[in-house]
Amino acid sequence: MAWGLAAPAVGVIALVALVPIAATAWEALHLHDLRMPWLGRPFAGAANFVEAAYDPRFRAAVIHTVGFATVSVALELVLGLALALAMHAASRGRGLFRTAALLPWTIPTVVAALVWRFIFDAQVGVLTTSLREAGIVGTSFDWFVHPLAAWVPVVAADVWKTTPFVGLLLLAGLQTIDPALHDAARVDGAGPVRRFLTITLPLLAPAIVVAAAFRTLDALRLFDLVYVLTGGGPGTATEPLSMYAFVTLMQRLRFGYGSALSITVFLLTFVFALVWVRALGRALAEERR
């Protein structure tokens, strides 16, 4: 009876999630290039995955993806925590403050990316022209032409857009902390830093883990920001995994190899999700104790 009632839901999940993933995994085991029909579609075993392991562009893409996730999520957690503390402390105009802080989160990523592209533009961009006038950068400096500098707009746009989201999650965590704890600590003579380190931070840990989990999973799937801001360039210096998979599948039309890359993105995200869920469970268990 229970299974019967669950069947429609299970069927839908199978149709929209499991079947496509299984089909992609199956495709990844074949040599299949849409533009070379004369090669057919022979079964190739793990050849596509072996090719990926030796593909320098793929390895660079993995490094780009993981590096971006680490840097941007770290920045977002620090800034988000500061934002949450400010929102928590604000007494007057609290509602207005919170709404204003959330604005970036409500803007579609592609629109935000276009605006950031404009800010960093070498000819007319506000930031670049101000830096040039201040003599900090040379006249021919262009963010999008330098392999490392090109990451700055990407990380800046991501941090700007998602810090409010992290801030909101952490604010919810802050509000569950009993103010009596702080009062008691204050009576015992603990200063603000001590109270932050021994009361706020440990009690906020579950919220931090949740925020970090959401943001890391998002950051590992980085695509739209890079697509609009740098196109993966200069060269392939800012190309993340999902963009390399996209190029392989949709531009090169190498369905076999592209599927193998997609499966790798999927596995990477999946493993991170598992690890984080474990960490989350542990954090919650500790809190209960």
Binding site: P20, L34, W38, D142, G233, G235, S242, S259
Partner: protein, 474 residues
């Protein structure tokens, strides 16, 4: 063709499904079903933003579940034509298709609107033709796709349909042939041009060093902030710019036998020249490495550049005095040569081909012959300012007054026209080159090393495709 992509027209989804749903036991149908799954596959996590395949995938699922609703319409239906249908081009093509219908009573030709962005149209074509759909019967191909489609068996030979093939611009004809057989008919052409400010540089530079000196002098005297601007973003346009520098030094990407020669000395000189132009003491702004056609045009149009490499479309816009600061003060010439090379103009443009699975090959060939006849080309030149692909039209006075560009200046560029490599794997070859060129130009690799890596990757690609060496064939 390389213009900034305009709004993408929604493509006709009902054209995709007929073959997927003809489920049966044969190998052919089994292949189609695999094709359908692989389209659905692309809707996996990680391919965010790939709206097109997801839509296709959903569509396929819908069709699989409601096969009856998607049954292929029975022939004889209208003949279908797929190509650009934006602005003036749309008017011209609609007018000509209607005229074809009048000439053949009972025949109706429908326009299937496809995305105007070249990459997207190609992806769509590849998916359709892989599924062996009967429509569209006639396809507008970019000059660089013909070999790919011909080798895959997706388009029909057209030798019999074009008795006067010798009339076409030779470079365009080269791009339309695969293994000696004509698979497409040149429709209109595009050639890379060197625009220059006639008030600053009255005479076209005779050599590449002359161009460099004039550009550098203009920057040093403050006549304009930039000496030369071109298309340096990592996309197809960069390859055409490189091809012109390459020709100037006497190099090439593939030799006549299809062997990779892009790591030879002339190519290294060409890429080094391009990189040095971007150096602090150079004459081109490093920002060109993020520019496509339109950004270069804006810079030139605002009077910020002495020279610009661009396509003929820019002429009409630059000549418009209400928007352009350089109206009446510019001219064009082919990109000049260095020692040991020749002036080179990258060839672009469109060709017409016939779907190999069309229901009516004879009529489809008739349509191709009609659209590429001199009268239709002249009308297209007059109304859409696109250059005819027939050499004789330039040699006679038929074109006088039809085009905004001066015929003598454009004629020199057409004589210098050079195709990009004619190979079934051109798209991927180009992508390899784009990445390596961009790495070298942004200082991540030395030109020689970048080209060595590019050549190695290209050789591996040709080997994988079974196209190594002479007699390249599937």
């Amino acid at each position: 063709m390389h213009r900034a992509s305009r709004d993408v027209e929604p493509y006709r989804e009902e054209r995709i499904e007929p073959d997927y749903i003809r489920a049966g036991g044969s190998d052919r149908n089994a292949h189609h079903l695999t094709g359908a799954t692989s389209l659905a596959d692309t809707a996996v996590p990680g391919i965010i933003g790939a709206a097109m395949p997801m839509r296709t995938g959903v569509l396929v699922l819908l069709c699989l579940s409601a096969a009856a609703a998607c049954a292929p319409s029975s022939r004889p239906g209208p003949l279908t034509f797929s190509g650009s249908a934006v602005g003036a081009e749309a008017d011209v093509v609609r007018r000509q298709l209607a005229r074809f219908g009048e000439r053949y009573p009972g025949v109706r030709v429908e326009l299937r609107v496809t995305p105007d962005a070249a990459d997207q149209r190609r992806q769509l074509y590849v998916q359709w033709l892989n599924a062996r759909t009967e429509e569209p019967d006639v396809l507008q191909l970019d000059v660089i796709w013909t070999a790919e489609f011909a080798a895959a068996g997706w388009i029909l030979p057209l030798d019999a349909a074009v008795p006067d093939a010798g009339d076409f611009v030779p470079a365009a004809l080269t791009a339309a042939r695969w293994r000696g057989t004509l698979y497409a008919v040149p429709w209109f052409i595009d050639v890379g041009l060197l625009y220059r400010r006639t008030d600053l540089v009255p005479e076209a530079p005779r050599s590449l060093s002359g161009l460099r000196d004039a550009a550098r002098r203009a920057v040093e005297t403050g006549a304009a902030p930039f000496g030369l601007v071109w298309q340096g973003a990592r996309y197809e346009g960069l390859v055409t710019v490189f091809l012109e520098h390459l020709g100037a030094f006497g190099g090439g990407i593939l030799d006549e036998d299809g062997r990779v020669i892009v790591d030879a000395a002339p190519a290294v000189s060409a890429l080094t020249f391009m990189r040095d132009a971007l150096a602090p003491a150079g004459f081109a702004p490093p920002s060109v490495l993020t520019w496509q056609e339109e950004q270069a045009r804006f810079a030139f149009q605002n009077g910020d550049a002495v020279f610009m490499r661009n396509w003929p479309y820019a002429w009409g816009l630059l000549a418009d005095a209400s928007r352009s600061r350089v109206a009446g003060r510019f001219a064009v010439a082919p990109f000049p040569a260095a020692d040991g090379g020749r002036p080179t103009a990258a060839l672009g443009g469109a060709q017409l081909a016939v779907n190999a699975h069309t229901a009516d090959p004879a009529l489809a060939r008739e349509l191709v012959a009609f659209l590429t006849a001199p009268e239709q080309m002249l009308e297209r030149a007059r109304l859409a300012a696109q250059l005819p692909a027939r050499q004789s039209l330039y040699d006679s006075d038929a074109l006088a007054g039809a085009l905004p560009l001066p015929l003598d200046q454009i004629g020199a560029a057409i004589a210098a026209a050079q195709t990009r490599p004619v190979t079934p794997v051109y798209s991927e070859l180009s992508e390899i080159l784009q990445v390596r060129l961009h790495r070298a130009l942004t200082g991540q690799q030395e030109p020689a090393a970048a080209l060595r890596d590019a050549a190695a990757e290209m050789r591996a690609l040709l080997a994988r495709a079974g196209l190594t060496g002479e007699g390249t064939a599937p």
